[in-house]
Structure formats: C-alpha cells, structure tokens
Symmetry: C2
Subunit: 598 residues, 2 copies
Amino acid sequence: MPDYKAPLRDTRFLIDDVFDFHASYAALGASDATPDMVAAILEEGAKFCEQVLAPLNRSGDEQECQFNNGEVTTPKGFKEAFAQYVDGGWNGLAADPAYGGQGLPHSLGLLISEMVGASNTSWGMYPGLTHGAMSAIHAHGSETQKQTYLTPLTEGRWTGTMCLTEAHCGTDLGLIKTRAVPQADGSYAISGSKIFISAGDHDMSENIVHLVLAKLPDAPAGTKGISLFIVPKFLPNAEGHAGARNAVSCGSIEHKMGIKASATCVINFDSASGYLIGEANKGLNCMFTMMNHARLGTGMQGLCLGEASFQGALKYANERLQMRALSGPKAPEKAADPIIVHPDVRRMLLTMKAFNEGNRALAYFTAQLLDQAHRSDSAEQRDEAENLLAFLTPICKAFMTETGLEVTNQGMQVLGGHGYIREWGMEQLVRDCRIALIYEGTNGIQALDLLGRKVLGSQGKLLRGFSKIVHKFCEAQVEHPQLKEHVAQLAVLNKQWGELTQKIGMAALQNPDEVGAASMDYLMYSGYVTLAYFWLRMAVVAQQQLEAGAGEAAFYQAKLATCAFYFKRLLPRTAAHLAAAEAGSECMMSLPAEHFGL
Amino acid sequence: MPDYKAPLRDTRFLIDDVFDFHASYAALGASDATPDMVAAILEEGAKFCEQVLAPLNRSGDEQECQFNNGEVTTPKGFKEAFAQYVDGGWNGLAADPAYGGQGLPHSLGLLISEMVGASNTSWGMYPGLTHGAMSAIHAHGSETQKQTYLTPLTEGRWTGTMCLTEAHCGTDLGLIKTRAVPQADGSYAISGSKIFISAGDHDMSENIVHLVLAKLPDAPAGTKGISLFIVPKFLPNAEGHAGARNAVSCGSIEHKMGIKASATCVINFDSASGYLIGEANKGLNCMFTMMNHARLGTGMQGLCLGEASFQGALKYANERLQMRALSGPKAPEKAADPIIVHPDVRRMLLTMKAFNEGNRALAYFTAQLLDQAHRSDSAEQRDEAENLLAFLTPICKAFMTETGLEVTNQGMQVLGGHGYIREWGMEQLVRDCRIALIYEGTNGIQALDLLGRKVLGSQGKLLRGFSKIVHKFCEAQVEHPQLKEHVAQLAVLNKQWGELTQKIGMAALQNPDEVGAASMDYLMYSGYVTLAYFWLRMAVVAQQQLEAGAGEAAFYQAKLATCAFYFKRLLPRTAAHLAAAEAGSECMMSLPAEHFGL
C-alpha cells in the first residue's frame, strides 16, 4: 500500500494564498478558527489519518465486513480507530455546540474529511453518513429530536444512515413501498426493506440512527408523498442511551467491487418505531439536505482516491528502473533510468496531478461557499452562496469522480503489472473510487440535475452566476504577462459555455429529449472549464508569490508547470464534449429500443 | 451474471458481407473452410462457449485459483471444460495438420477465441497461452522440437506459457537475469525466477511447456543477448509423454484485481533442463512471434468483455423500470418506463455498441490479414499483409482495450448500484478487462511501438500503407447519397493524420522526447480514425443491403444508426487527441522529477 501523506502544503496554498480562508472566517465570525488553530487542527488531523487510518486500508479491503447471525463485524481496528476519532474530537468538529459540537466552520470539517477519505475511504463512510444524518436532524428535527439524537451522534456514541433505496427503486424514489402507519402515541410503525444502506449495521457504535423515507397511508402518489422518519436501531431510554431493541434488522450485506470494509446493508423494518422528522410528505426535501452534503462528500472521494493514487504512482515512478531516457541516460550509474524520465509516464503523472490539484481547488472553493451559506449575516451573500453551491454541487459530484476514476486508473497504469496486484494497493483505489460515479445519484443524474434543473430550470441564472465570476477574472487578467494566452483560452470557452447552453435550451423547447442527450457531455464540458478557472486562479497567485520572492519557488513553479499541462493537454477535451453536446438527440433516439440488440 | 449469446449475426455480416471471408479462403486455398463448414463451426463454438464456459465465469471469479503445497488448483469445472474443448477439436482448429491440427485458417481460430474470451476470459488464458507457445515453436523450433512439443500441445495434452518478466524487469527485457548454462548433452541448465506467468501452473493438463527467455554465459549485454528456451515442467519420455519432473516449480500465485481464475505464477527454475529454440541471442525475435499473436489476443479481450458487458447492460436497460421518458410515458401500463427510454442511458448503450462493433470489424480485418500473411502464394500480398499487421497490431492492442475498459465501465454504470455488486457480474467484466491495458506491453509501450518504431521508424511508410486504403475508400464514396458527410469527415481526419505525423516527426528530429510526449494521444487518434473507416465500410454495405431489399432491414438500419452515433458523438474526440498530440513535450518535461511531489 502506498504510504499516505496529507498534502498539507497544497492545502496551505489554497486556504492561505488563493482563497484566504482566514479573512473569510473572520468575516463570518468564526473567531475560534484562528490561523494557528486551523494549522494545528490540520497537522493533528493529518497525523491521525496517516498513522491510524491509512494502515487499516489494505487490511480492511482484504478482511471485508462480515455478516453472521444478523450482525455485521467491521475489519480489525476499525472500531478502535473510530473510538480514537471520537476521542480526538474529530466527529463533532463542525457540529453545533448546542448539541456537543465544537462549532468550527464546515469548511474545516471538509478539509479533515479529505484526509480521512484519502487514507481510508471505507472507514470514512461511517462518520460520513453520520454527518449527513446530523445535518438533516439539525435542519429539520424538533428540539426534542435534536436533544435526543443529535447529541449522541455528535458525541460519536451513535452513528447514522440514510435509507432511501429499495430493490425496485433508486433514482425513482416516487416508487418506494416502505410504509409508515401512525400510532396512538404519535410515533409511526415503519415496515419495508431498504437496500444499499451504507453503515447500515456495524459494531462501531452503541446505536444506529436510520433516517428512512416512507409513505403515510394517505400519501399522494410519487415523490410528493414521501415522508422522512427517524428509526433508531435501539430506542433511546430515559437516560438518553440505547435502550430496547427496535424492530430493525440487517438482512444481509452486499459483496462489492470495492469499499469492502464499508458495510452495505439490506435493512428490514418490521413495524419498527419511527418518528416523523420535518413535515409529512416533505421527506424528499429533508433528505436533500443530507444529499447535497453527501454529494459534495462523494465528489471528494474522487479527489481523495486520486491523491492516494498519485502518491503511490509517483513513488514507484521514481524508484522503478526501466529503459533509458530517449534523450540520453539520466542515471548512468544505475542499470536503467527511473521511469519518471519517460514522457509518457510524465503524461500520466501530470494528468493525475492536474486533476487532483484542480479538483482540490474546486472543493475548497465550494467549502468556503458552505461556510457562507451557513454563517453569513447577509441574506444576499447567503443567497449567492446557495446559488453557487446549487450550480457547483453536481459538477463536484460527477466531474470529480469521473476524473478521480481516470486518475486512479492512470496511477495503476504507472505501476504496470504491479498495479494489477492487490498487495500493491493501487487497484484497490480504482475499485474504491468506482462506486463514487454511481451512488448519491449516478453521474448521469447529476448531469440532468445540472443542465435540466439547475441551469435551464433557472433560465440560465445559475450558470450566469458562475460564468460572470469567470468573465470578471478573465477581464482582470487579460494582459497578464505570463498567462494571457490561457486567460484568452478560458474566456473563449466561457463564452462558448453560454452559447452551448442557449442552443440546447432552444432545442429542448421543441424536444425535451435534447436535455438528456446533451447532459453528460455538458457536465463534462462544464467541469473542464470550471477547473480551468481554478487553475488560472492558482497560477496567478503562484506567479505573484514567485515575483514577491516568497520562498519555496519550486512549489510555485510546479503549480505553473501543472497549469500549463492542464491547458495544453487536458482542456482541449472540451472540444470533444462540445461537439457531442451539440450533436442533438436524433442519433441516439432514432434506434428503436428493441433493435439495440441487433 | 449476464447470459452470454455469441453475436453470430454480426459475425455473419462481417465475414459474409463486409470482408467476404469466403472469397478470401478460396483464394488462399483454404478449401476445407467452406461457407457451410464455417457456419457449422461458429454455431458449435457458440454453443460450447454459451453452455460450458459462460456458466463457469462468475464461480471462477469467486473461487479464484488456489495455491497449496506448490500446486495450483483451478476453479471447479475448469479442468473438465478444457477436456471438452480439446475433445471438440477446438484446440487444434487452426494448427498445422503435420502435428495433429486441423489446418483451418487462423482467422477462424480468432473468431472462436472471441467467443471464448467473451464467455470466460480467465479460462481463455490457458488455451490462449498455449496457442502462443505453439506459434513460436512452429516458427522457430527444429523438426524434433516440433514433433516432441507441438504435437502434444496441439492435442491439448500439454499446455504452454511464455516466461519473460522478472521482478525487476518487464518492459526492459535487456535486464533479465535468468541464466542458461550449456550442458554436455546439448541441453542447458536454466536458473532464475520469472513472475507474472499466466497459466504458469495449473491442474488442467498433464504437462506445461514453458518458453523462457534467458541469457547464455557469454551473451552480449541488453536485448541482443537474450535466448529462448523450451523448459517443460515434466521432461518428455521416450513415448512422448510427460516423464521425470524437471526442476521447475511454482513459487506462489498473485492475488489480482481480476482474471482471478487465471493462474498468475512465480515460476522458479533451479538448474532446470532447457532446450534452445531458434538461434542463440535471437530469443527476443522468436518471442515476438508469440507476442504479436498475444497482442492481437489481448486487444480482443477489450472487445470480448465489452460485448459481454453490452449484453448485460442492454438486458437490464430493457427490464429496469425507473422514471418516465421526458417526452411522455412509453410504458404507461407499468409503474415506470424501462430505462432504455432515457437519452443518457441510450448514450451509454450506443457508446458500447459503437465501440464493440467497430472493434469487431477491426479485429476481423486483422484476422483476414493474418490468413494472408500465413497462406498467400504471393510474396507481395504477404508483405503487404505483414506491413498492415505491423501497423494495426499496436492499435488493436491498445485502442481496443482502452475502449473496452470504457465500455465495461459504461455497462456497469447502466446498472447503477447493482453494477457495483459482484453477483450481478458487471463489475467483474471491468476488473477482468483492466489487465488488458497492462500486459503484453502496456498501452504506453504500444503507443511508442506505433509512433516510434512502426510509423516514424518506417519513414511513414506503414502509415501510408493504411491511410492510402482509407483515402481510396473515401474517393470512391465521396458522392455517397446518404453517407457523404461522414465520408468527408473521414477524409479530413485521414489527411490530418499524415500532417500530424509529419509534424511530430520533424519535432522529433530536434528532440527525441517529442515521440513519447505525443505517442499515446497519437495512438488514440489513430484508433478513432481507423474505427471510423471500418464504420463507414460497414455502413456502405448496410445501405447496399437495405436498398437491395436483403431482408432483416432492422439489422442494417441499426448499423446505420450506430454509425451515425459514432461519427457524431465519439469521433469528435479526435480533436482532443490531436490538440494534445500537437502540444509538444515541453509542458511535460520542464518539471524536474523531484518537484512532482510538491
């Protein structure tokens, strides 16, 4: 397994130099998050992830979760690591102090979750789901529900899940069959079976709080008739601890391609006691609070696994001796040159580096928006942040995972045959990454969300909100001595983005299939342009730092070199996505369904 | 596991209508391969693969090969299936009748191996390696060696391997350490350790014939000092059967991402008796006989697994009900529409279909060239076929596996969460496919072979040989009523291909790193153009058949629709590869190796 080292230098660059998190924290009144405090938290978080979580990653994959007699056992060390995590205060880092949290900014929580996911994605699922459940209860729960559930979740005594999918429906939640029958005491009897429930059962906490979508007896059909319920595995007793067992059971666990140490459960509810959270029939809205959070987290998995893969590939490329550089031996004293001398190996490494660092910038920008949306005093700023988040969330989820999969595959490829062997750890990163393109709404669904719901659904407003930022940046940098060519390239693509959107929008008025026909390529186009913007923002800062003689010149030079690589070698993919998105629906709709197999 | 059905209709279309294998067989004097005989062989081969091999695919993945007390056990049913395969005459189908084979054309062997690989890739490795060993012995062995080894290999009593890689060298075979010391009896004592030996040990045959690269004591350094040896696991006795055990042992097997039922062995030679095959120090040339064969076979794996994935995804897309078509309900009597109504699902299915059928055409064209190279009376035709094969082999290997991986990933994606669950069988296809981008020379090495050795190494002659065929085709079809737009598109790309090559060639004169910097994108560009040519050839024939009222109109219409999809949605990717290939080496070479980690 490649050793994981948290990329703190890059984190520092982004939060200090590019996005100035400190100014943002000060403006938002996050007075605890002083620069020293932030630095200390990141250092400690890195230590925990490198020393506790990373060593459990390979063994977790080999041992997998086990299911015996209705109980799930997590791999060796998982439970103890969770106890350490909770003891270290990591679980409640960004949680509300009213319920035992530390109240630090959400962005800081996201930075910690990046390191968690990069060192051990499977393990990270357990706190990840818990945080999702916490945010839904915090947003929609009654005060009593918050006291009862949020406090033990924050304290890490309990963990959470989200129970949406059923065997016959995932994307189409309007079809769910789980029923909730009102009881005399105000609770509900929940009956049904949910599948693909991450962290649905395990041995890491004393209780598990399921957030379950179900239908009331008189509910309207479809998604407008779905309600959200809290259904704990053990009913809370008077002391606030896990009491009597509820009628919730784990039916089985799935055997999966990857994230094998994350328990993916069938959870059966047999007239289990449940408690309505939020309004009746508004469950999907409540669930979206969790899902937006989860979608950003899922996008991060692409970055996390990409970073882990890059570190492994780079180490190998520096150590593995094979062939001589075509331009003449670089290590004549050795039997052959390290393979990093070969251009094609560098192509793979730079592709990885360019996506990882670009995705990281996108993620941190989004994290900063999360803080603004949660904490700003200004309704206007909150609104603007919400709009940008709405626009960027499907891009984060889909583009960061699509590119994350490419990155982990490239990382494997750098190792040649060894990349395919389990003990080297590189193929696990591909397998672990692969789910991120599927769960929390497939990437195809994200693409429809972006183009259909967000962009066209707002008559282009959400796109304009972001592309105006890009436009202003390009205007400001149009004469940049070193970067003006790239600035011009970005400006052209940004303009094209609007034109493409209009074109699809017009076509969709005639034929609604035009949206779905273009959506995935539209999303990928959007992702490449978005990353180009963040790459240029980083490059401008790197150039400033270099000129200011800020020290660590090599770091800034590497940023500029990677930016150039991104613009020359990766950004041209926009041309392919543009052409495909403009190609129209006819070439995919004309073939009758029954003729696909001919 | 998706049921596998051999796509015999498409095979028939290609060998009857597009490439006219029958005329080719007649011209080459392959009189046994009558149309009726070919049809019968394909039907029987399909039956064997569908009924015997396909049912062992999932169980083979779960059981994996086991290694105990120095012996490898293959999964349940593998040994029996091999016996059936041999009894059915499949192993010797295309082998020399002088040594027990049936002497049918190589192309027919390739068509059978397509079905084998699609139904059970792991299992197919055992006969696949055997055929590689047979071709090397046939080409380079002495008459005695052929009698001794080729006959039992053809009869399927023995199987073969190729032993190239050592722990410290894969690509760079000049570094191998395995030694061959001449013995008084004319044999050699072989000592060394080889890794990643597919079919290196197993329980399916009575003997295993290793073809081993080793160095003689006085060998020149590097690749010019490598010789090839036959090293059987059991020494042949006077009756031509497996006799005394040779000093060959299996040290361990690898635990891999996929092809888990294919034994990947460490094979140790401890002064084992070996026999020089071909000339001393010319071993690499001999090995290339096997490797070109193996590279085509590896490219086929991309097609095979892509086909299996398409069949699984299509079945699911027709059965899974989720959401309504945006253009209005298509199955109003059901709870939701089958997901094949959604444009984005069709995008995935058509991408799969377009790559599979395009890759199949490329493979069959190559198979026809194999026949010509082996059998033609005309030295000129043999020469031309060899040149085209030399050019197309790295494209087949790399492009068909890159796109095969994309196809299997898309197939998984169509199934959503179920795609990630092992029992559905779709993720196995991704894992099984992934190795094909690595072994038999990584795709990066294929790209260097194509651009450096084949194209620039021949001063462009090998490219011109193929692009002239494309050019002539475009000239002939320039006025095609339905297809002229696509013809024009192909003509432009074909011209650009030459210009790109010249540009890189000129740059490489100044800086040899330009070749490696451009090679992978050059290969992908080449692949897309090559497939565009074959798609148009298929479309022209389909249009003719439609106009001739040949029946099965829906089949030909589906071809035309898929061709249109390829040209509109996939071929534009050439723009991205062109831009990247033209971007030059500076943006990847300027960053010092030690700064990649910054």
